[in-house]
Each structure stands twice: as C-alpha cells, then as structure tokens.
Symmetry: C2
Subunit: 606 residues, 2 copies
Amino acid sequence: MSGLRQNLDFLLHDWLGVASLTTRPRFADHSRETFAAVLDTCERIAREKFAPANRTADVQEPHFDGECVHLPESTRAASDAYVASGMLAAAQDYDLGGMQLPCVIEMAANSFFAKAGIGLGGHMLTSGNANLLMAHGTEAQCRVFAHQEFSGRFFGTMCLSEPQAGSSLSDILTRAEPDGDDSASDPLGPRFRLRGHKMWISNGEHELAENIVHLVLAKIPGPDGKLVPGARGISLFIVPKRLVDLDGDLTGERNDVALAGLNHKLGYRGIPNTLLNFGEGKYPVRGAAGAIGYLVGKPGDGLRCMFHMMNEARIAVGLGAVMLGYAGYEASLDYARGRPQGRPIGPGGKDPSQPQIPIIRHADVKRMLLAQKSYVEGGLALELYCARLVDEQHTGDAQAAKDAALLLEMLTPIAKSWPSEWCLEANSLAIQVHGGYGYTRDYPVEQYWRDNRLNMIHEGTHGIQALDLLGRKVVMDGGAGLLALAQRINGTIERASPHADLHPQATALAAALQQIGAATKAAWSTGVPEEALANAVPYLQAFGHVVLAWIWLDVALSVDPATPAGQGRLAAGRYFFRHELPRIDAWLAVVRTRDDTCRTVQDDWF
Amino acid sequence: MSGLRQNLDFLLHDWLGVASLTTRPRFADHSRETFAAVLDTCERIAREKFAPANRTADVQEPHFDGECVHLPESTRAASDAYVASGMLAAAQDYDLGGMQLPCVIEMAANSFFAKAGIGLGGHMLTSGNANLLMAHGTEAQCRVFAHQEFSGRFFGTMCLSEPQAGSSLSDILTRAEPDGDDSASDPLGPRFRLRGHKMWISNGEHELAENIVHLVLAKIPGPDGKLVPGARGISLFIVPKRLVDLDGDLTGERNDVALAGLNHKLGYRGIPNTLLNFGEGKYPVRGAAGAIGYLVGKPGDGLRCMFHMMNEARIAVGLGAVMLGYAGYEASLDYARGRPQGRPIGPGGKDPSQPQIPIIRHADVKRMLLAQKSYVEGGLALELYCARLVDEQHTGDAQAAKDAALLLEMLTPIAKSWPSEWCLEANSLAIQVHGGYGYTRDYPVEQYWRDNRLNMIHEGTHGIQALDLLGRKVVMDGGAGLLALAQRINGTIERASPHADLHPQATALAAALQQIGAATKAAWSTGVPEEALANAVPYLQAFGHVVLAWIWLDVALSVDPATPAGQGRLAAGRYFFRHELPRIDAWLAVVRTRDDTCRTVQDDWF
C-alpha cells in the first residue's frame, strides 16, 4: 500500500472516523469497503493515466491553431479516464448517476489525481460549476447544463476576472443586455447578449468535451445605459460555447465566445489558461454579434451565487497545493534513501576510508524531510478536516451544521493560503534534498515547485485571504467564529494535556491561542481598519501556524506509537511545535503593535 | 541616474568611503571619477547587450549537435561586449592589461551584468580561474593560460564535482597518471593523463572563446595503483580543451575532453552546464587516450589551491543572488506604480464609484516591496562590505589585512547563503505583486525566481555553508572570528545608540548578538559534534539575519534623512528590525536546546 494511501486511511478512519458517516441516510449504502474501493480505483487511474502524462503536459504546452486548442494525447487519455471513473458526480445523488460520496471521501480520492498530475483536466472546475448550478439554477438549467457536466459530456469554467479587474471584481466591465423581445421567456432562463473580456480562464478553450459551459459574471446596464458601480451590480450567466436545446443536445450553433489568447505560464501548463472575448462578433449567432447567456438567479445576485461555492473551491485549491508538496516529499524521500554522499560526523571527524552513507542519514537532510512531512501531512489533515466539516454542514443536525458552517468560514482562508505557502516551501526543500539534480528537468521536483507557485495567486491571493480573515471572519457576529474555533482547539488541548509526551505541546498551543486572541484585539483596538489590516498577511501566517499546530496535536491523539508510521507522525508533530510554531511571535508582534512601517512608506521612498 | 546606480554610489561613497582607497599605491591612479567611468560603461553594456539577451538565453537553451554547443547570437554579442570592456582583468596589474581596480568597484560594476542577464557568459568563472593560476601557477602557466583568460581569448571552468561526488569532494575518482618518461620536465608543469567524469561544469563546452581552460581536481594513484582516500589525495590540474604552445597559441591538437551531456536546468539557462568525460578516448591526443593536464602547485594541494579562491567565488555567487532579487524588485516596483486595482480602505469601507488606485498604495503591496527592498539593498550592502574587506586583505597594512581576512572567513558563509535564500524570497514576492501576470512568461519575474533557485545549491549548499559556519568558523582560533565580528557589530551599536530614532534598533541588535553568542556556546556545550551541528541551518539563518540587521543599522548611520531615498533606506532598515530580526528567536531556540527532533528521526518513520 502506498504511503499516501496509508496516510489517508489513518486520517480518514483512525483520526476523523469517517465510517460513522455511513449511519446517515444519505450515505447509508456506503461502508468502509465502498470508500476503499473508490480510493483504490482513483489511485490506480492516477498511477496509470495521470502520472505518465504529467511531464508531457508541462513540456507540450497548449497550442492554438486559430480555431482549436491542442493538448497532448496523454492529457486527453487522463481526462477521459477521470470522466469514466464517475468522479465528476462523486457527491451527487444516485438518480443523477452520482455516488452520494461524502465530500471528505471525494477530496481524499481526488488527492491521488492532484499528486500525479495537477495540470491534467481541471475537473474540479467542472464539478464546481455544476454544483453552483444545482444550488442556484432552474430545473431546466440543471438538466441541460449541470447534468451534462456530471456525466463529463460538457466541461465547465468560472469567468470572473477581467484584464483590468483581478482581485477587484466590482470593476468588471462585461455587459449583459436583454436579447430581444422574447428574452425574458426563454425556457433556459432570461436570455442576454454579453460583451466583454475575461482573463485567466482555466479550460476556457479545448476539445476534451463536447461543449464548454462558461459561468460568467457581468453587469446589466441600468435604464441610463450605465453599469452599476460596485459588486451589487454583478449578475451571473450561463454562456455555453455551443448552443444547446432543451434536451442538452447541441443545436449546431457556435456561440460568440472566442479565444483571444493563451497565457504562457510558469507551471500548471496542462490546463489551457485563456483570455476570452465574449460577443466581439467572431462567431455571430442567430444573426447578431454578442454571446448568448442565460441569467442564473436574480439580477445583482452574481457574486452571492459565485461565492456560494467558494469555500469548497478554496479547499480544493489548498488540497492541490498540499498534493504538489506531497509529490515532492515522496520524490525527495526516495532520492535521499538511494543517494550515497558523505559520511557520519563521528567523534574523530569523518573517516574517508569508510564507504559513503545514504544522505537520509545526515541530520540536515532529515530536517528537510521532516519539515516537508510536517507541512504536507499536516496540510492534508487540515484539508480533510475541512471537507469533513462540509459533510457536517450538509448532513449533520441543525446545530452541528451551523457550527460546521461557522468553523468553515474561519478555516477556509487558512485551508487555501497555508498549503499554498508552506507546501511550496516543501517543494523548495525537495529540490534542495536533490542538490544539483533537483535543479534539472531530469527529476520531477522542479516542476512541482513551479506548479505550486500558482496557488498563492489564484482563487484569492494571499493578501485577499488575509483581509478576509482579519477584516471579516474574526470579527463577524461579534467574534463568534473565532470563539467557535477556540473552543475546538481548547478541546484538543484538554484531551492532550494529561499525556506526558504531549503536555508541552498542549501548553504551547494554549499560549499560542492566547497570543492570537490578544493580537486580534490589539489590531482592532483603535477601530481604524487601515491600522488593523496593515499587517493582515503576518496575521494570516501566524493564524495558519496555530491552526496547523492544533491539527498536529489533534492528530497525535490518534496515533499508534508502537508503529514506525506512528513514531513518524509524532516526530512531525514535534518538529512542528519546536521549529515552526515559535515563528508566530515575530508575525504577531507587528500585528499587536499595529506596526506602521509598511503602510506609512511613501511611493517616492522606493 | 538609475536606482541601482544611485544606490551603488550611496553605498560605495557615503557608506564605505571607497574613494579613500585611492590614497593607496595600488589604486593611486584612480579617483572617484575613474570609478564612475567604469560603472557608467558597465551599466551601458549591461543595458544594451545583456538585458535584451536575457530572455532569449532562457528560451533558446544551449544545444549540442554532437560536436559543438550552440548558443544564441545575442549571448555571443553580450559575451563579446563583456570581453571588450576589459572587465575580465579589472583587478589585474596595468602591465597585464588590467585596470588595477579595487575588488569593491569590480563587484559593483559586475552587479549591472548580473542584474541584466545572470546567465550570459559566466565570466566570473574565467576571472576566478585565472586568479587562481596567478596565485598558485608557475610563471609559464600564468603567461600561457591566465593571461589569455584575462584578455578573453580563453575562457575558464572549475571542475570539482563528479556524478558520485557532489558535496563530498573527497570521493572524487578522476585519476591523474604521469604522461610518460618526460612528464616531469614539461615547461607547462608536470604533465599527467587524466581519466574520469566531471559533473555540473558551467561553461564546460562552447565556442565563445578560442579555448577553454579547465581547472580539474583529480587524484594521483599511489605506488600500489590505488587512490588515496579523503581530501589529502586531491591535486589540481590545468586541462586545456585545445593544447597550446609556450606562447599560448593553439597547437592544433584537441585534448581528450569530451562533452558527455548538457544538463537541462530550471534556470540559469544561458550558461551551458555540462557533464564532461576526461580521457575516454573520444579525442586521442599525441597517440593515446587520456586528457593531458598540467599539475598546479604540489601533489595533494588541490583543495587548498581551489579553496584559496573560494571566498571571492562565494561572494560573487551571493552578489548574483542579490542582483536577481534586485531585478525582481525593480520590475515589481514598476508594475505596482502602473497597475490600477482596488480602492483605499476608508472609514466607510470602499467607495466603488471612485476610480481605482495604483496597487502601490495598498499596505500589503507596500509590505511586499519594502521586504524586497530590505532583502536586496541589504544584501548588496553586505556583498560590497565583503568586497571592501577583500581589498583590505590585499592592500591594507598587516594588522588590517589580518583582521579583514578573519572577518571574511566569518562573513563568507553568510554572503553566499543569505541572499540565496532571501533574495529568492524577494523574487517570489515580486511574482506576488504582479498577481497572475507574474505567473506568466510575459513578465520577467518568473525567470528571476527560477534563476535564483540555483544559488542555494551551487558553490556549497545551504547545509554545507551552515556546517562551515557553526562547525568551523565560529570555533576556529578559540572563537577569534566570532569575537572580531562582535567587535565590529558593537562598534556600530555604540555609534547608533545616541541617535534617538536608531536607539531601539541598537538595543535590539545588542540583544540579538548576545543571543547568538549564547546559542553558539550552548550548541557546543556538550562537545558532541552531532548535537552541536544538528541544527546548523537554523543557526546559519539566525546568524545571517543578525548580520543583515547590523548592516542595515550601519547603513542607517550614513543616510541623509532629508531625501526621499534616505527615508526609504531608513524605512527598509525599520522593516528589517521590526519584521525580520525577531525571527531569530525561533531559529535559535532549537540551536540553544540542541533540539534532537530531526537528528533522531529514523528512516522507517518517514
């Protein structure tokens, strides 16, 4: 059994006890065995179809011939295998062809694909797109679009950003105007014509599926023809690449959505990332320019609909970052076991007449491996914990669901940002373990590092996550979210304290939690947002390290210390408490003092 | 005047007072004006020839057709311009065609090339190679090889590593055997035949110069035919790619050195990095296989000769890391000034009817720019400080030279490692400032980040630098080096303390220095090397941050606070003291406690 699989089994069963979910009606047909079968299948497909295609997708970038985007054949084979696995509908109802899997199992299963080839297919986008329609679309929109996505006939995108509007979505300029007199009565939803440009659209153009379902944020002009400033003017539209009838069959009409360009990226090269022109007249449809789009939900509700899915999308990004880190950890562990170099430091120095030893026996190599282990296994535990909260939100009783939703609000910025930063650091350590070989393309670790650099940027940058956490999440409902999280953490501390070997960690975590509380209060003590938020990123970093310390302590309570794997987990936890958690002092010092060094610096001082 | 040039002028003149060097006989013909002329010339060549070639060298990797390595035409043009500038002999005597420039001016001038195109030419290798021969070679070796390198007719390499011997040079297997009966009397030095493989050889094969002078570490077998284990068996040889006569002219004979392969790297792609086969018979010479090489210095003295140049080579690597960081800083500063996105955080939130602001006005973007500024300008100051010490070592009076040599021993591991880590972090921040655009190859910052990742690996990895610092440098001569450095730092503290605005920094630095001393003692208190050195890298990191805090405080004493540039330097120093220096607590805690988490972890726990 692979290391990842063993680790997943430990986290899912020994730690999270997910088998208990099978007592709930929605999961009643499931068992530990059916969960295992899903993991087996996904691990096999990932190994057979994704892993061999990963470097090819990096080297043979998406190519546009003026009409079609071409991808390597092995990317198509990987995508087809994923579709055939049924994972696109993993969490859906049986009568939609789904498996009614818990989110936590779905995430665990998807971890194999992320580790083997993060840039192959981008299927999370399709599930996320369809899930959004299931929550906010009409019955016809679900049937015609979402259901086709779950079966893999259609793939999906999310079209938010524009060249001039990245993090600031309120500044989008894409316009949506009613499409003629009968526009309100279209059975697929109020019909509009969209005109504008969308940037950074993953999977915006390809031939991996019959059709592409774009979910597009746009603004409906007011009676004066002007766009409403700010987020409240934003609406959401379904804009299919090819028009469909009420059975979800293609009508043969191409919609007016055109590829304006492919972005040439540092990594994640398997997924074509695009600039799309909507309604510029390259593909006039039904006699006119303008991309046909169907309104989802109410006008002005666009952001609310889109952000409905944001927690799960951000957890998925975090999981991707974790699994890139995991892939690098495994590769460098393998290398360190096989590479002889140097000799032990003995009392009399090194004896050159002795044979060299594998580098895994050097203390600093162990340090780099243990750091990676603490980042990637800790990160994986966090993501699964969050996924388990999603299940609680969907299938728990009312109070449990409410609690879970609150905790998810708190943890999502961490689940997204923490692995993006620290599993990237893990990838850098994996290169370092390899020495010069890690800097060459003969080994996979440099690609993991390049791929992972994306994750601090997309789905809300580090800076945006930090503002979300310190500006919104910790202060919402009078601090209810922070309180709920603190209660969970205190529960772990109470359970760990009686154990002699975990007592120091419990004490350290309690002190760290107290520091977070004090820094939060001090940051907001003047009530001036610029002062409170000037050091939001160091706050996010400290908060993340405290959350991960909590996760490691909680994991330690489920460990079997009689096994080498158990000893390894305890060592990774110790590493985190001794080497990592103390970093929070430096981060929180500037938060607590509302340090103004950065915010007061003037442009002409640079 | 460019920002870098202004900064160099400030550091060289206002801070280091380098004009005073012109009172020394060796530099008597120089003046502030002649120094400025050199900087002007180098800045112009870097802008005109290096900058435009930088991306081309990244995209069009070195290509081997079986006989020759091909590089882009623009790389050759850049290299030719560098040779024509005379910088290869910048520090040499006038009668060798040199300029007798101080090392600190040579480094400052070379910083322009490193910033504009780090992977173009690798001329530092050629100067370093020739300098080594000037120190250890015979008159004939200097004339025939070194002088041709200073003029740029020949280029040089350093051949240390082998596929099985990277950090552990004592395990090299390349053999050198006397080349016939007259071998001892060759006018170019005792003549040997070398056989073996050398890995990671930068500039190992190209057509940029008439000839390539390889300096090769190899072992001379004992009478039993066996190689002597360990470092003491290592000798140094000159192995020219093409054989030369006593006038330095090519004889027309190709030596038996063959390219076995090019390494395909993550970055630094302009410099062909090679695996070379010595003496495998591809180019039999004078009737036999075996590469002809001339002994430099005495048998067994190879490492000592090679390491003679190591301080300057490591400072040069550190400078390269700094300048990659600098390039990213400038690019992201430029982007942040021109990119509108978002609005100020006001008392009533953000007003979407207001126009967007340039992102440089957001506190977190300022933080990312100020962090970069503190890393790259601090790093530049450190490298120039070290270069100034090299000048003191070469041209100061006996005591000053001795003091400078001692300080250089202490500072070199930091000068090499600190920028490799933190200016890489600066490059990551430069990507982050750009958002998604920074992740594309339409902007230069992703290349800087890839290029800079090499610097923690070559010329002694981070781990090797850490062992050198904690295992050798701080304990040598009963701690004399640490004491000398502490005296310098205390001098700065004393000068800064009376200034009200610098007093807190002086106090913090004094405390940090005390922590370093205590941690050093505690680490070695048991006298067990494995215990002391288990956390050598965190020690190196903390030591580096303390050195940089010292540099920033010392720089602050020379700042003119009436200018925006002066305010910027003070802000970068404040940033370093408030956000960076406090990190040392976490690093030193594990050193002080001789934390055994990493060194005691077992292979099967992973």
